[in-house]
Structure formats: structure tokens, C-alpha cells
Amino acid sequence: MSESLTNDSWRVASRLALASVLMGALAACPGDPKPAEGIYAPMGEPIPSATPEQLETFARGEEVATRRFSPTDGLGPTFNVTFCAACHEKPVFGGAGAHYRDFLLVGQTFPDGSRVELGVNGVLDQFHVDGSRVPTPEGANHFATRNPIPFFGVGLIAELPDEAILANADPADRDGDGISGRPNYERGFVARFGRKSQTLSIEGFLRGPLFNHLGITTDPLPPELAAALPVPVEVVEEPASRGDALIGRRSDAQATIPPGVRTTDDDGVPDPELSVEDLYDLVSWAMLLAPPEPDEPTAETEAGHLLFEEANCSGCHVESLKGPRGLIFPYSDFLIHDMGPELADGILMLDATGSEFRTQPLWGVSPVGPYLHDGRADSLDDAIRMHGGEAQAAADAYAAMSETERGQLVAFLESLGGADQHSDGLLPPDAAVPPAGEYGGPRRELTADEMAEYELGRAVFDRDFPITEGLGPSFNGDSCRACHFDPIIGGAGPSDVDVSRHGSIVDGVFEIPSTGTTMAHRHALDSVRPAFDADTNVTELRQTPTTLGLGAIDDIPESVILANEDPNDLDADGISGRAHILGDGRLGRFGWKANVPSVIEFVRDGLTNEMGVTLPPQEGLTFGATSDDDEWADPEIDLASMEALGFFIAMQAPPPRAHENPTMEDVGEATFGTIGCTDCHMVLEDSSGAPVPLYSDILLHDVAEEGAFGIADGDAGFREFRTAPLWGLATSAPYMHDGRAETVEEAIAAHAGEALGSRQAYEALDASAREALIAFLRSL
């Protein structure tokens, strides 16, 4: 062999040498390589080969993945989400994300074809910790949508030698099949993670999003921890041969923010904001997530498998690759392919052009939709049909099949693991309804018919609404659950699902934007962020309150609410609550401005204004829209689904109380009354006289700090807010209308205006009295 090799020849040759070192034992076996054993588990569970120590790490890592970060933990200064699993939750943690977790890439393209990433390493974050929406960077002229990607099996992919991937490369299409996959390299190694195979290492694939989407800074794993990962990084300090040298090189290739480089920010929280120990656990967790086991073949799926081969889907979705454990079956070549102009997004990542994408693995594909890089396909059928470029022939072949054959092919894909975990939303299949009165359960015992309606409504609440049924054209969430999931489906939402409101205040008067709504959606289906109205001079975030117990609030007689009004503060207690009487005379009860009069109107409002779904008309109901300008026929939801949804929401039990220290809570409750909190946060009664312990008068109060500006809604001024119900307080952080308070203590401190006296009284309490009061509040 020549000692001087040209271009990539020695690197490829070297990888072949490494592959032979790593897989020597397998290569020596007679016959075909055997499938790797002990690698499958239900999605979300660790690979069966994990050691007891690794299992402990896995559990710790999942805690890190689901840990909610707040500004005091280092969240921000800008962010999209508050925890890793926010985007990787479907069907379980570690998985994919629905449309509401799509995010935008932002950049500036130039006449020479180059593109500069803007935002945070190319990511356009939604939120700033100061409560504002992150503006689109100056000069941005190019956007692309990304849908979150699942992690199941990534450790096995990481184990693949470069050679196993390179073996399928055919960049010049020498075999003439129209498929010319090529590797994307990172620092000389075959990258394999990400929509464009732009990332080599799992550590890099986690450190990047931690910084870009959460603003959480990290240090690279030190060598001793990197070497202890489930897919170990071998640190060879004294290479003695080419093979060892390559192992050493791989060790250097583990982090993509380039190795040795810390991520830092200026949010005032010391860096790193995630310890290397936590990062190690998080990386280990991801590496240990098992792929799901394929189903036993059936006649239908075997027929589909043949069709899959005949259509040459397997030209890119290569069935198996040879790793150190034997064959694994990801149905991907991990190469990048030109997918044609329709899918092209113009994003350049390393060597990947704007139309090149990695072949997405198909193991476990069933429950991780939507599909394709931007989630444009809600079904596998759509996804296949949308293939273009090198995959156009396969897509055409699929389209030419009979309906039965297409069904067989899709059935085959769905058989590649995880179908038993498929859900239309996040509720596991056949999820039981909790007992009455508990979180997630109804507020009373239900008849069988009522329970069926409750379950149907819950499914509608949870279901990810497909694009092809009318989601959008712009939206905040693609399901009710998208925003209401803390601590269970139906609950509140963290700050990463906050809603932006916009408008203008001129001479002290609030003006609704010319769009006719103060809502400024987070998402649009055409890879742009819905813009604020041009005249906007005030914006405000709105935190997602719980829907638990709304039916109980609906049942409170108007007279009970109105009885507590004192708009002119005739009793001179400094509190002047007033009801929000809507333009049509109805009493507003729901929403931060008490601007919605009933549960069913709340349903209509949410479906249209949060999801962009058009509704069938219902006599006497005025909220929501019956038409929009997308291409889908109106109404986009049927009446039965809406009514079931309304029944579910109305029938949900209020958050149950949780007593940890009843004695202290009793003391706190008494103090809560004596310092005047109950003047607004009060227990009301329903029509039977039974107490409704929501701790709200459902009236509007001015509790804003001096000089505050915000968004008005109807008759509710921009400084006025409905007294927030306090039930479920412990599980519904953050607090206040814009989520500005991370803790109950901060929420109390944020009270002003009519609540100033009570706040000052709280602040004057001794520590034990304050502790008792907080204990009471957290018990609600």
C-alpha cells in the first residue's frame, strides 16, 4: 500500500481497518452475520443488555431529561422549551414531538449560495426570560421548520463503524438505480444523527439542543466520563497503530460544539448550568434507549415487506447494518440523499445541501409521527407520497400500487416496532380513567354512557390534530393537551407553551390589532413565525391555566359571583372586584380576563384561537370561527367530538387537595384569611350550596404594578385580571398571567394594586407564618 493516499481514500481505508478490528470476531464466523441479540425493549425502556450500573444511570438520565428548568436554573436567556422531553415525548419520553413542538431554523442566505445561521446557532427561539417573544433576527431571509426527532436506538447507531455506513454510499450512482446516497462528515468521521446526518456524537446531539432550545450551558464530558458512557469513548493517548489511532480519533470526535468548547451565556447563572455528571446521565440515558421489537410477521406485513423491496424503498431505507453486536435493523443507510425540490429546505449542514436529508430510520416509526423533517406528513401514507428526488421512483411505485398493496406496505412499516404504543396523542393506548375525584378522573361517578363520553372527550382533548384535518394555518398547539398537561392531561402548562398577545395602547387606550385578534400564534404551517401586527407596541405572555375543575366553576350561579362585586369599593377595603359582563350580557368566567362565559364556549375558543380549527355553528354560542382560509373543508371538527370534548372538560375533577402537614396547613389557612387573601381568593358555592374550593371570586381586579401595560380583552382593562383559582397550585407553576413567578412566594410578591395590602401583610409575617401559609396554598 502506498503511504500516501489521495483525498478520502486513506480515511475510508482506515475505517475499513477499524471495522475489521471492531468486528473481527463476527467476521470470523461462518455464514451470514447474525442479528444482534438483546437489543429490543418497549419504547422508553433501556436496552436489555444494560448493566445494573447503567440502569441506575438511565433512571437518573431520564430525570434530567424531564427536569423543568427555570431562569434561576439557567433557562434562557432565550428558549423554546423548558425541558428536554418537551420535544421528545411521543409516544413516551425519548420519542418525537407533535406539531406544537416544531421549531424554526433561521438564517440569511447570500447570492453566493452560502447561508449564515442566525438566532441561537440557527434556531429561532420563541421566548425570552424577560417575558418577551424573541424577535426575528435582523437580516433573516430564510426559515425552515423542524419536527423533533426520536432517540430510540441511537446508542446502537452510535456503535456502527463508519464502514458500515460507507458500504452503502454511492455518491456517483454507479449502480444506476437513481439513488446516490453519500455520507455527511463531521470532522472527518461519518456523522449519523439529525435530519441531515449533521452530527456524529450523541453528546453533541444533546449539548447542542440544550443550548439552542433551552439556553442551558454545558461543559464537554471530561475524558474519564466519556470513556464510561454506554457507547464508550476510548481515550487512547499513545496510539501505536493505525487502528488504535482511529479509536483515538473517535474519542476526539465526541462533541460537536466543538470538542473542548464550553457553551456559555450571559443570563447571570454560573456556567455550566448543567453539571457534567448530569450531562453524563443524560447522554447515557439517550444511548440506552432501546429500539422497539418488530412485530411477528403476518401475511399482510410480509406482503408489504416484498412491496417495500420491489418499490426499492430499501434503496435508502436499508434493512440492516452490521454493528459490533451483529446486525441491527434500523431501516436506514444514514446517508444523505437529494429528496427533491418539494422537500428541499435550503438548510446547509456540513456537506448536506438544501435538498439533502438523512434517510430516517424506520424502526419504531408507527408512533412517532408526524413525519418528514418538518412534520408535514401526518401519516405514513402521506410521508411516502411526499418523497421526491432520489426517492421519487419509490414514491411513484407506491402511488401506483393498489389500495390493498399500499395498506400492506404501510402495515409492514407499522410492524417495525412500537405499534402497540401508538397513540393519537400522548395517552397510552387503553389508558384507564382514574377514579372519580382524583387527578384525571371525573368529578363524580359516571354512568357507563357518561364514561364513554368522558373517554371520547379525553381522546379528543389529547389527540394531535392533523394538518390534513384543518390544523392552522397558524396555531399555538395542535391539541388541547399540547398546552394543558401539568401534572396530567387537562392540567396547566409550563412557560414553553405560553401564548403571546399583542396590541397597541394609544393615549392610554388599548387597540385590538387590525387582524381582529390579540392572539399571536407560535406556529404556522409555512415555516414562518406569525408576525405581530405592525402597530403593536405592547405584548404580553399568557401562561396556560389548568382546565381541571372548570365544570365546577361553570356550576356556580351567577348570583353567587355577582354578590361579591364591589366595583366602586363601597366597603373601602381597597378591593373593588367586578364581574366581566360580556358584550352580549353573559357573565365571563374563564380565562385570565374572565372573557369566556362557559365551558362549551371555552372549547370553541380554544379550538379556533389556539389550534386554527373551524367549528360547526351551535345556536347561542358565539366563540370560535366557522371558517378559515386554509384548504380544508369547514367545519374541521364535528359536533359530536366538540360535545364530547366539552363534556370531558366540564366533568374533570378539580385538582384534589394533598395534605402533607395538615396542622401547618390549618395555620396557614387561617393566616390566609386574616391577611385578606380571601377577599379575592375565596371559596364559592354551587347551586346546591356546596362549597367550590377554587379560591377565586371570578371577578376582575387591578393587581398590576404601577405603570404596567398589557393586553385588554373586552371590558377587562389591560391592568385587570380575573382572580386566579388556586386549586392545583402546587402542580401548575409558573404563576401569574404571564408566568413571571416561578414559585408561590414569587407570585405573592408579584401582587400589586388591589392586592398590595395583602402582599404587604404577608411580607410582614414571621417566617413560620409565611411557611404555614405557603404550605396551605401548596396543599390546594
Partner: protein, 325 residues
Amino acid sequence: MTRLLPVLALLVACPPGVDTTWDPAYDATDTGWLLSTWSPDGDVRYAVGGQPEAGVVMSDAGGEWAPVDTGLDVPLLNWVYGFGPDDLWVVGNGGTILHWDGSAWSAIESSTTEDLWGVWGASPSDIWAVGGSGFPEATATLLHYDGAAWATVELPTLERPGVRALFKVWGTGADDVFIVGQRGTLLRWDGSTLREELVGTSDDLISVWGTGPDRVAVVGGRSNGVISVWDGTEWRTQSLSPLPGLNGIWMGDRDTIHVVGIEGTIATVDFESLEYEEALPATFETFHAVFGDASRRLTAVGGNFASSSGEYVGIAYERQLAGGE
């Protein structure tokens, strides 16, 4: 702990009679990082680097590499260039500029606190220095020395956004200067005007060298190697992957581009075809600079820039230049 990588006898294309084996120039383990090397005449070589808070100037006068006592307390030193044994310029972090006049080292007021990454001059009274950190709070910095003082040169409004650092400067003369930097930035000075040129990449362009107005090459890329060449008429830009990212470049021959980079990368690139020949790695550390001197020695220096160990380890390798290189 001293860590000396064993030497691999690694060769590039070997014309008869010239030993082009890369060997350690010296054991730079304890020197700190080495970011640049240069020689005024082929007799003495200089290398600069150190640690963030402690810059180092090394020289191999007499065949033995040894620290140069500058008598100055300086931070990391990033680049060295000169006009002869008695006229040497070194730039470094925090706006550091050092000058050797043949008898003494002196720290020169730079008018900036930005890190300075490159220095080059057409003459002793026409010198450019560039810098910036690349981080949001930094400013892409261009300085000029007119023989009396350094002054900041205002940059034109760049088309490329967020450019916070310029990394290297080189030219063929006073009216033909090339400046490269972050996000694919390339600036040219024609003696009167500084203008930005788009060369077809947004990768960081880290270093520039050439042999004449129609033979200029630029390398960069933090992950994969990127090269842009100027033939007097147009720029051609190409990814060199799987060759990793490139930091250093030197040309002595109009057709051969010597490049070094991350992952211990050392290679030569043909100017016309942009095909490369890579030497098998002698180290996994990062090379930052390469320079060929009048004695036809090719020297490559770098360090463990990718390490999070907190140690600052330097590397220095050398080989003979063959004919046609």
C-alpha cells in the same frame, strides 16, 4: 504528567532524495499551545503560543528550541510575522502586540483589547493585524501600522451578519491584501478600498496564504475542511471532507498548498484540482499553523485545543520540503 506521543513515521509523496518524514521538531509538551511559527531566514525559527494568561515565544536558534525571554508579561500569543531577524511582530490575546527590533522586545500600544489572531505586512511601515473573539460581545477588529503607530481601521458594513472576528491577513503587496474571518468573511484591500467578497461558504475562514496575485488560497471550516482559491479571476470554493477542519496554510510553490488542521490533519492540496494528499496522522491534536522557511523546512505547530483537561500541551512537527512544494 508528560505526554509524548510516539512518533509515527509518516510520509507524504516522496520524491527521490528528500526525506519528507514528519518528525517532532521538539518536545513541546510543556511549552503550552503553539499557534504560529515563522522564520525570517531559515536559520532561526520562531513559534508563539503559551496559555491564556501566559504567552510564550520560542525560538530554535542554534538548533535547540528554547523560550525567548521577552521580559514582558503577556497573555496567549497567537501569531508571528516579520521582515527580518531584527524586525519581528507578534500579536496575541487582549490586544497584545509585541515587537522585536533586534535588541529588545517591547509591547506596543494596539488601541484594542480584542484578541488579535493574525499579523502580516507588506513592509515594515505597512502592517495589518486582525482579531476579535467570535463571541457576541466581541468586535471584528482590523488594525494598521504605518511605521509609527497602530490604528484601528473601520470595517465596511459587512453583508455577513454577526461577524465578530477576523482571523488572518496576508497579501502579495501593499495594494493586494486578503483578510479572512468568521462566517466565511473575506475582505480585500486594494490600496485604497476595503471591500467584502462572497466566496461561497459561510464556514469560518481561518487562514490565508499564497504565492502571488493569481495564487491565493484560504482554508477553514471548524468541522470539515474548506478551501477557497483565487486564481486572479475568480474564487473557487470547495469542501474537502472528509478532511477535517483546517486552521493553517502555507504556500511556497504556486501549485501546492500545505494545510494543517484539527484531528492532527496535515495535507497538501493541488491548487488547480483541489485534490488533496493527506499524511497519516502523527498526532490527534490540533495543528494550528504551518510554515515553510528558507531552509526548506516545513514546520507545523499546534496543541490540545480540543481538550477539556485544563492542560495546555503544544505540538511541533517538521519535515523537509521536496522539490515542487
